[in-house]
């Protein structure tokens, strides 16, 4: 992550730090590319009956490959969701509430991702 950079232009316009937009754009694309195989894997597994009951779920996530892919999916999905929801908030919320909403989006997505990862590990390692 690069340090926030106040260009003379952005300082004069009162728009604050510049330099994060390109990073946001890039990470959104990288997480999107990661999610293509990951979401196909999840859909394939769930539609194929890998987790129809608790026993099947445990067997499925016990396999290291499935454990790793589920954790990667949770990281990529919640990161991608945070970036996308932030872009929507930036476009549609013009009041000062925008910053509070963006902070809530980021906090909720980190919390959701962390919760999902811990739950996945508990399923895989508890059995």
């Amino acid at each position: 992550m690069t340090e926030p950079r106040i260009t003379p232009y952005s300082a004069a316009r009162g728009l604050g730090a510049a330099g994060h937009a390109a990073s946001h754009w890039w990470v959104q694309r990288v997480s999107a590319i990661a999610l293509v195989p990951l979401i196909l894997w999840l859909g394939w597994a769930l539609a194929g009956g890998s987790a129809t009951d608790h026993e099947a779920l445990t067997l499925w996530l016990e396999a290291p490959i499935n454990l790793i892919l589920m954790i990667l999916l949770l990281i990529a999905a919640f990161h991608h969701a945070a970036l996308g929801l932030q872009a929507i908030a930036e476009d549609y919320i013009h009041s000062r509430a925008r910053f509070a909403v963006i902070a809530c989006i980021q906090l909720a997505c980190v919390a959701g991702g962390a919760t999902g990862i811990v739950a996945t590990l508990l399923i895989a390692l508890k059995a």
Partner: protein, 125 residues
Amino acid sequence: MKYPRPQSPNMQNYRPQLTSAMSFGHRLSGVALSLLAFGLAAWLVAGAAGPVAFDYAQAAMHSIAGRMILVLASWAVFYHLCNGIRHLIWDSVHAFELRNIYAGGWAVVVTSLVLTCALWAWVLI
């Protein structure tokens, strides 16, 4: 130095068209999929809590409302996936002529519907 400025997006200025409807659909499905991500996390928490909690989660998903949500969610997945790939192709500066933008748009709509039908045909048959 605050004075009224035009603020994007100026939706009301546009006649409805495939391109704008699909752009809105991408955002709408994106919001729905964000909620689905929290649903996935909750489903995993139910799994971690044990067989009883997981049975409740599975029963909720097999209810009428649960099934309807899953069908819509699967369409949102396929739509956002196909349209996301369309966006990535544009990002690589390909297929960005108006003709290809419309051809790709219809391809995304049809492909996402076909994949949704195929998925549920596979699950239910």
